[in-house]
């Protein structure tokens, strides 16, 4: 009888293991199979024209827009109409599992033709031999000068002149503020975001303003439980005149006096009561929805939030919120070292295992044309990567503010070890936020310095390996 009980438990165990084993999230979808979007399925069913040989290209993209696969194909539609022999199949990877899939593909040689890579990934995948050099073809897409310099920096491995990717779109961080709250507090928005001092006094003025019977916090900022911890802090280090690594990428410098000053200013805003402390537990999207709900008067975010405010509630947007009608975008304030912001984005690359490299390059060429850049920026809410379009008068006021921000945009060193470096930074910056929240020792310049120093020694071990 005991045996029965034991075998029942063994069975249940096996069952529970089987259930818990299905945890992976595999978001790849093939647009030619789902046929959800009219234009998408038209494009993928395009068949061979007698003149040229038919080719099928596989593209791996990230969820850059609300309907990633259909939006991508819609952007390509004019090209596919002109080249009926080309069929493009889209697989959407999610950012969480993309890294594993891409490295697996790079290792085995089995993968897509067109591959989207986050800008900080390009040097790493290039160093693994996963993507092809496109140095001699750069002229086809208008040359390096045609693109935003900050993002172009990430198309090569630092210290090497070979080019591995073509910038596709970029994003930048800027300030979103509540125009109504600033008006109510009598703060001049022309001067408020000029430099650190004016920014801080503006925050002090709007802090605790009563809006619709509720007190509003000056600033909303995510603490450590966020995937952007590193991107949130570095703009302040750059603005203070600090940097991540030395010019030759051999030494760590972010923990020096200037970097420390930047971290102290940014975390000081939270320490001095300008931030609702509970926001330190939240992540970027929770902070964004708090801003939408009128819990904070200022946040720092990317162009996608403006897109979100313009999207109807029924489609998952926030256009019904009061903040959606009362916000404006301003650049980050200048610190002692000038203005700076984090610029991220994605690049298009030719996968080294591709069997149709020429056709792949033609598609990439089309995606970086003015026409496709404009169309894709429209659907994704991201910024085009080409300078001529960033300066175009067609952009709306919010996008103009972001385009302005990209001018002093900065990117991380294009070293192959950036991924591990970011992981290490994330961990130690998380401890900084614990100190700010008052749950890990006392907040002081010394305690923050100590944490930055231990981050620096870990990063040094990584870049010297």
């Amino acid at each position: 009888m005991k045996k029965t009980a034991v075998s029942i438990s063994a069975l249940l165990m096996a069952f529970s293991l089987a259930v818990s084993g299905c945890g992976g999230n595999n978001n790849s979808s093939n647009s030619s199979n789902n046929g959800g979007e009219q234009k998408g399925s038209n494009a993928t069913t395009a068949t061979a024209a007698p003149s040229t040989k038919p080719v099928t290209l596989n593209a791996w993209v990230m969820p850059n827009s609300p309907k990633p696969d259909a939006d991508f194909l819609q952007t390509l539609d004019p090209y596919l109409k002109e080249h009926p022999n080309v069929t493009v199949k889209v697989t959407v990877l999610d950012w969480g599992s993309a890294w594993t899939k891409i490295t697996t593909a790079a290792t085995s040689g089995e993968g897509p033709d067109i591959l989207q890579l986050g800008s900080t990934w390009v040097p790493a995948i290039a160093s693994m031999g996963g993507i092809d050099k496109v140095t001699d073809k750069v002229a086809d897409v208008g040359g390096a000068e045609a693109f935003l310099p900050a993002i172009w920096n990430t198309t090569s491995i630092a210290g090497d002149s070979e080019v591995y990717g073509i910038p596709w779109f970029v994003d930048a961080r800027a300030i979103y503020y509540r125009t109504d709250v600033f008006k109510q507090a009598g703060v001049n928005t022309e001067t408020a975001f000029k430099d650190w001092d004016s920014f801080k006094s503006a925050l002090e003025a709007v802090n605790g303003q009563t809006v619709d019977g509720k007190k509003i916090a000056a600033l909303g900022l995510p603490g450590k439980n966020d995937w952007n911890v590193v991107h949130n802090i570095f703009p302040w280090i750059w603005a203070a005149g600090g940097d991540v690594l030395s010019e030759d990428n051999k030494n760590v410098v972010f923990n020096e006096e200037k970097g420390l000053e930047g971290v102290m200013f940014y975390t000081g805003l939270a320490n001095e009561g300008l931030v609702e402390k509970s926001s330190l537990e939240k992540n970027s999207s929770q902070i964004e929805s708090d801003f939408g709900d009128g819990k904070s008067a200022v946040i720092i975010s990317g162009p996608w939030l403006a897109k979100n405010f313009a999207t109807p509630k029924a489609n998952g947007g926030m256009d019904d919120k009061k903040a959606a009608k009362n916000f404006a975008v301003a650049p980050l304030p200048a610190g002692p070292g000038g203005q700076a912001t984090f610029v991220g984005g994605s690049e298009l690359t030719v996968f080294s295992g591709s069997k149709n490299k020429e056709a792949t390059w033609e598609v990439i060429k089309y995606l970086t044309s003015d026409e496709a850049q404009k169309a894709y920026a429209q659907v994704s809410g991201q910024l085009p990567a080409k300078l001529s379009l960033l300066e175009s008068p067609d952009l709306d006021a919010n996008m103009k503010a972001f385009s302005e921000a990209t001018k002093y945009g900065r990117t991380y060193p294009a070293i192959p070890q950036w991924g591990p470096t970011e992981t290490a930074l994330q961990k130690h910056f998380a401890n900084v936020w614990d100190i700010v929240a008052g749950v890990k020792g006392k907040y002081s310049k010394e305690s923050i310095k100590e944490e930055l120093d231990s981050a620096a020694s870990e990063v040094k071990a990584i870049i010297n390996q």
Binding site: V6, S9, A10, K224, L280, E281, K282, A424, K427, A437
Partner: protein, 326 residues
């Protein structure tokens, strides 16, 4: 399972004699045939990846050598030596916190789910109206995927969340609303949801175990004047011992290898749960896969596996008599 087939043999058969052994193999030919598919699948899904992991732990396998994969440079015991003796080794950073947290977490969760599960099983073992509904309702936490548990509790633990609302605004247990997702409290923020999700499974197992205990033993004890507590200590617990033994092992292994709830509660797996929230599995994942130090990561996993094998060995010695009893 292995235990099961062993039980099929006569308990006192002299296994040393070859002739007898051969005869027994012959007699059980059908049983062996039934086991073949399982063995093949176990080889494929368990043994081969494990061998690969052991091999990887002797290679210098990082982002620069990943393309060569299993043909990456062989470095012998370097990965192990680095882990044990080099304090700058990336995989070692913060590992002492993770070991401490995992020990606390595994012990409290294991004890917590066993006690909760046993209590609830005994409660539901009585006959009362609506018992079926109560059983189903109590299984709910176990049915919820751990991903959802992590995300939901992540919201509930927020400083302005529902848990602090009950603790502070309703019960007035604290003066200020504490942080649960930052600092030392994090360990509770991961232990409690794990227990919450884990106990219903134990309840089902214990319920099955309780139902195998014949009612007449309790009746006899009652006639002899044993009270309920006495009956619990002298009848229920000893009769459940084999079930408890198996579950104890399963829970310890499961909790030491726990990953999902922590990883989903803290920023989509990208985040760092902090010095009081990091478990062995989250730490090893971050410090080896996050740092692309696959060789060192495999070596660390192998060492953990070795420690767990020792735990299983100790467990087997302690409970051997119960497991072999007929």
């Amino acid at each position: 399972m292995g235990l099961h087939t062993e039980n099929k043999l006569p308990a006192n058969a002299p296994s040393g004699k070859r002739g007898l052994w051969r005869k027994r193999v012959k007699d059980n030919k059908f049983a062996y045939m039934l086991m073949v598919p399982t063995i093949i699948f176990m080889m494929l899904v368990h043994l081969l990846p494990m061998l690969q992991g052991i091999w990887m732990s002797f290679l210098k396998l990082n982002q620069f050598t990943l393309v060569k994969y299993l043909k990456a440079p062989f470095v012998g015991m370097d990965n192990y030596i680095g882990l044990l003796f080099n304090s700058d080794n990336p995989v070692r950073q913060g590992l002492n916190f993770a070991i401490r947290n995992t020990a606390i977490y595994a012990v409290i969760v294991t004890i917590g789910v066993m006690i909760m599960g046993l209590m609830m099983a005994m409660l539901l073992n009585r006959d009362f109206p609506g018992r079926g509904i109560a059983r189903t309702a109590m299984l709910l936490p176990w049915v919820i995927p751990s991903y959802v548990v992590g995300v939901l509790w992540g919201f509930m633990w927020q400083q302005n969340g529902i848990i602090n609302y009950f603790l502070v605004d309703v019960l007035h247990l604290f003066n200020d609303k504490p942080f649960w997702l930052l600092g030392p409290n994090t360990i509770w923020a991961i232990i409690i949801p794990t227990i919450w999700r884990g106990w219903p499974f134990l309840m089902v197992i214990f319920l099955a175990g309780l139902q195998t205990i014949p009612e007449d033993i309790y009746e006899a004890a009652t006639i002899d004047g044993a009270n309920k507590l006495r009956q619990f200590w002298n009848i229920t617990l000893p009769m459940l011992k084999p079930v408890i033994a198996v579950q104890l092992l399963f829970q310890i292994i499961n909790n030491v290898y726990s990953y999902n709830i922590v990883s989903t509660m803290f920023g989509n797996g990208a985040g760092y749960p902090g010095e009081w929230g990091d478990l062995l599995m989250t730490a090893l994942t971050r410090q080896s896969f996050g740092y692309w130090a696959f060789g060192s990561g495999s070596a660390a996993s192998m060492m953990l596996m070795f420690v767990m094998l020792m735990v299983v060995g100790v467990w087997y010695r302690v409970f051997r008599s119960e497991l072999n009893a007929q």
